[in-house]
């Protein structure tokens, strides 16, 4: 984070000092996310201006603007029941494991809740900023491959020219098993 904002500061130097926020003392994970977002925004707008020789487009604000959305405009906070944690862990092969992990997830959802306030009616969502570009299509000519040795070197476990994996997928522990495993954790 600090490296990133330093880089952003460097890029901005001598261009528009107004775009740069004063360094902030970061406290909670949610705030970190919020301010990272802010810095990212200013970083991008600066870079765009740096590259563009055209005069400033009046439709685009010269400054990054940010106002936290008041709590009362947001939907009620989402609480994650244990069943849903199970499902998410299963789908994403992640392990929240602790109470902190769960709190972090709930905070992330809370942060995303702010998007509900944005009026997107009549606007088709974009997948990519490159949507108006033609997707490059390659000729059907063999250019790669034949590097089994190089690839197999990256694997911890191989047999002849095969990668070796455990049989099937490793089943996740049941909730009872996990409760047993995490008996001493706060969860």
């Amino acid at each position: 984070m600090s490296v990133f904002s330093l880089a952003a500061t460097r890029t901005c130097r001598g261009l528009s000092l107004r775009n740069i926020r004063p360094p902030l003392k970061l406290t909670s994970p949610t705030e970190t996310t919020k301010y990272r977002h802010l810095n990212l925004q200013s970083h991008i707008s600066t870079v765009t201006r740096l590259c563009s020789s055209a005069p400033h487009n009046p439709k685009v604000s010269e400054f990054a603007t940010w106002e936290p959305v008041p709590e009362d405009q947001l939907p009620p906070p989402t609480r994650i029941p244990a069943d849903l944690v199970d499902k998410l862990e299963r789908l994403a092969l992640v392990d929240f494991r602790t109470k902190e992990g769960l709190a972090c997830l709930e905070k992330a959802i809370r942060f995303a809740d702010q998007l509900h306030v944005v009026d997107t009616s009549g606007i088709e969502p974009m997948d990519s900023v490159l949507e108006d570009r033609a997707l490059y299509l390659r000729n059907d000519t063999v250019m790669e491959g034949d590097c089994a040795e190089e690839l197999l070197q990256l694997s911890k476990n191989t047999v002849e020219e095969y990668f070796v994996a455990p049989p099937g997928n490793i089943p996740l522990p049941t909730r009872e098993e996990r409760a047993e495993l995490l008996k001493h954790s706060e969860f």
């Binding site: 939907p75 009620p76 989402t78 029941p81 069943d83 849903l84 199970d86 499902k87 299963r90 789908l91 994403a92 092969l93 509900h116 009026d119 997107t120 009616s121 997948d127 990519s128 490159l130 949507e131 570009r133 033609a134 997707l135 490059y136 299509l137 390659r138 000729n139 059907d140 000519t141 063999v142 250019m143 790669e144 491959g145 034949d146 590097c147 089994a148 690839l151 197999l152 990256l154 047999v159 002849e160 020219e161 095969y162 990668f163 070796v164 994996a165 455990p166 049989p167 099937g168 997928n169």
Partner: protein, 549 residues
């Protein structure tokens, strides 16, 4: 799992209700999640009061066709069957960090061509998505596919069933193609049960597939088999897929359910692991019977994936798919939308036309499709529709048939039996293809010409064909001369043979004289036996009639 799914579903549902009141705009995202549970509810268990006697099967197919191309869908590594393990893998196929997909134009053209041949609408703009699941032969943890907007939609596959007595009646049917999507194949896992490990070969990982999704409109295994066979012929004619099911170039999954006609569809099962068309029909029919059995006994059909065991002829539940999967689809961020253009005029300016996929150009290059070829054969040569199916079903047989016709004056309707019965019979017996036939088309034409001009009888011609089969390269004429198989039309010689037969069978002669003319055929048979089938039948009949009158 099922319990937690329901709980999660309820949670999302209540969240959805709440948010849609507060924030109507946001419902879209949550609706996307809900469709899964909605679809699940729309498949109801046939009600208890429904009469199991009236239950019928409903079959929908999902077909994965490997695109016939030199390289993979998103990487420049080679596509080849049975190469040394992991020799056809690029860094992208192995999912090393920092690698990016680069789309193969050939694969796009193949999908467009297949879409056109199946009367699909080609989407000018299609999108790629990531479908997530964890398995060792999918190194990225997701497959790039086209879930939201596939390259082709709304097509029709017309296929034919053989019905009626002697199965000579041709019944035309159609199946709706919902969509054709481009996607990556996975690698292969070899399970080593002895050492409790799985060996991974990524040669197939990233090979281009066309997934064809058909609406559940078929009712039995035979229909599904006929549809898949027709699709296979179409793909082979187009050259977009080699269609060999035993090598996995075409893989068919069947969604099977039963219901009472007019009622909503029943709970379906997905039958996988079917590696031939014959097994496809058997697997589906077994599964329909099994589901009806379950319901007749008062049970419930489970929504599950089942594998077909070709040894027992049964479908068995597959263990690895518990509950409903959530693939966490998301737009593929590394690929902008795929654009195809109707014609050269619609290309954006300043773009290299040879780089782009132009639908018009592909449409012009479409070859003759199997159904058109069959109609042409029936019309041009006056053969029966079922013969046109036999000809088109066998690779190279149409060309063979037409080559024979060119070299003989024999009517096509008389030639067809020689090609579809005699020649094909010999080939099938030895499990050979048409191109491997030791009897060439001109050689068969020569034989048929000899029969047509009255040099040999039809039964002798069959014997000569067998000889030609045994000693490739020998002509029909050589065999006839060497083995003295030419038709005996020497009148005095035939007269004496006929006289002997008449003398030794007084009862038959008496019967003929009493008006039972059919007995003459028996005497003719005896004469042919004497001459080893070489006697001129017209002459023999005349002589016998004279002697018995």
């Amino acid at each position: 799992m099922a319990a937690s799914y329901v709980a999660a579903g309820e949670l999302l549902l209540s969240v959805n209700k709440r948010t849609s009141i507060l924030y109507p705009k946001t419902s879209c995202l949550i609706r996307g999640i809900n469709t899964t549970s909605f679809r699940r509810h729309s498949e109801s268990q046939p009600r208890a009061k429904s009469d199991p006697q009236l239950l019928v099967g409903v079959v929908g197919l999902e077909i994965h066709a490997q695109i016939s191309s030199n390289t993979k869908l998103f990487s420049g590594s080679q596509v080849r069957f049975s190469a040394p393990p992991n020799s056809l893998v690029s860094f992208f196929d192995g999912s090393l960090p920092g690698t990016l997909p680069v789309l193969n134009r050939r694969c796009v053209e193949a999908a467009v061509m297949t879409g056109l041949a199946l009367n699909c609408t080609i989407n000018r703009k299609s999108l790629f998505d990531r479908k997530h699941y964890f398995y060792a032969d999918l190194p990225a943890g997701y497959q790039i596919t086209q879930q939201r907007r596939p390259i082709a939609v709304d097509g029709i596959l017309t296929y034919s069933l053989h019905g009626g007595r002697k199965r000579s009646q041709v019944i035309r049917k159609t199946a709706t193609i919902k969509q054709i999507q481009l996607e990556q194949d996975s690698g292969k896992s070899l399970h080593d049960d002895v050492h409790g490990q799985t060996l991974i070969d990524l040669n197939r990982a990233g090979v281009g597939l066309m997934e064809l999704v058909m609406e559940p409109e078929m009712s039995c295994g035979e229909e599904a088999a006929a549809a898949v066979r027709e699709l296979q012929l179409i793909l082979q004619a187009l050259g977009t897929c080699q269609g060999n099911m035993s090598e996995g170039q075409m893989r068919v999954d069947a969604n099977v359910s039963v219901h009472e006609p007019g009622e909503p569809l029943g709970v379906r099962t997905e039958v996988k692991n079917i590696n031939s068309i014959r097994f496809l029909a058997k697997a589906i029919d077994f599964e329909i019977r099994r589901q009806i059995d379950v319901l007749q006994r008062g049970g419930r059909v489970q929504n599950e994936t089942r594998a077909y065991d070709s040894k027992s002829g049964e479908t068995i539940p597959m263990r690895d798919k518990e509950g409903l999967q959530d693939y966490r689809f998301m737009p593929e961020p590394n690929l902008p939308p795929l654009m195809v253009y109707e014609d050269n005029a619609s290309l954006p300016s300043g773009i290299d036309a040879s780089q782009m996929v132009v639908v018009q150009k592909i449409r012009e290059g479409l070859p003759e499709l199997p159904s058109v070829k069959r109609d042409r054969l029936v019309q041009t040569y006056g053969i029966l529709p079922e013969h046109s199916f036999t000809l088109v079903n066998e690779d190279g047989l149409v060309e063979y048939f037409e080559a024979v016709l060119k070299a003989t004056k024999k009517e096509p309707r008389k030639v067809i039996g020689w090609v579809t019965n005699e020649l094909l019979g010999h080939l099938k017996q030895r499990d050979m293809s048409v191109s491997q036939s030791p009897v060439s088309a001109p050689a068969l034409a020569e034989l048929l010409e000899l029969q047509e001009t009255g040099h040999i009888s039809s039964s002798v011609a069959k014997r000569v064909l067998q000889e030609m089969w045994r000693s490739p390269g020998t002509t029909a004429l050589q065999i006839i001369q060497e083995q003295e198989l030419g038709l005996v039309s020497d009148a005095p010689q035939l007269h004496s043979i006929c006289q002997e037969v008449v003398d030794s069978h007084p009862e038959e002669v008496q019967a003929i004289r009493n008006g039972n003319k059919k007995v003459l055929n028996k005497l003719m048979g005896l004469v042919q036996r004497e001459t080893k089938g070489r006697a001129d039948p017209v002459l023999v009949r005349a002589i016998l009639q004279e002697k018995t009158s």
